[in-house]
């Protein structure tokens, strides 16, 4: 079953604009991760935020986590056409530090040049 719910399901923006994607989850977590997928194939790990962290940055990526609302957001600043992909949030099941990741349905981002 899917733990994460993401919105929007699809997002279309112009190059240079910022893109914000949101993820909500249901159970307590140890960490939350964001992955990117191009063309329906392999996923690439982008960033991991632990439950005791509120914000994390990596290059043009900014992730926030609000455990009281069970939600996270991924912000991509100054988007590029190459950022076009699907983005997924994922959480380890329950508060387990290992084992399976439960993925959201994903946000399909399209960045137009």
């Amino acid at each position: 079953s899917q733990q994460g719910e993401e919105d929007p399901q699809a997002l279309s923006i112009q190059e240079g604009e910022n893109a914000t994607m949101n993820c909500s989850y249901k159970t307590s977590i140890n960490n939350l991760q964001w992955y990117r997928q191009n063309s329906g194939r392999g996923l690439v790990h982008l960033i991991l935020i632990r439950s005791n962290e509120r914000e994390k940055h990596s290059g043009r990526l900014r992730v926030t986590l609000d455990t009281s609302k069970k939600s996270s957001s991924l912000l991509i600043t100054a988007s590029r056409a190459a950022d076009t992909a699907s983005y997924f949030c994922a959480t380890p099941q329950h508060d387990n530090q290992g084992g399976k990741l439960i993925f959201g349905q994903g946000t399909e981002l399209s960045v137009k040049p």
Binding site: R41, G42, L43, V44, H45, P92, Q97, G99, K100, G106
Partner: protein, 114 residues
């Protein structure tokens, strides 16, 4: 290689046939995971291996699905008597340690059951 590799990249089979999908994890990674991705179901966990522990098979959808991991490295996912609903992209991932669970994914095998 440096990353997780999977073979074949594409597999077309007829309903009722058995298929084997292979995954080579990153060298030294103790944990290995299989997921599948289909249009209607999104990304679903199938099975997880960690070292010498018994695998977590809780995500396998039926007893037609099985997987093994030999020598703590290469894994094979076998689907017996394939059905059309088995059509999906099968993704393998590995991680260095279980703690915090950052996973590295292979490119996937696209399975089409006719």
């Amino acid at each position: 290689g440096a990353g997780v590799s999977q073979s074949p990249s594409n597999k077309v089979t007829e309903k009722g046939k058995d298929v084997e999908l292979r995954c080579d994890p990153i060298s030294g990674h103790t944990a290995l995971y299989w997921y599948r991705q289909s249009l209607g179901q999104g990304l679903e966990f199938l099975i997880y291996f960690q070292g010498n522990s018994a695998p977590d098979k809780s995500g396998l959808p039926s007893d037609r699905f099985s997987a093994e991991r030999t020598g703590g490295s290469v894994s094979t996912l076998t689907i017996q008597r394939t059905q059309q609903e088995d059509s999906a992209v099968y993704l393998c991932a590995s991680s260095l340690v279980v703690l915090y669970n950052e996973q590295f994914f292979g490119p996937g095998t696209r399975l089409t059951v006719l």
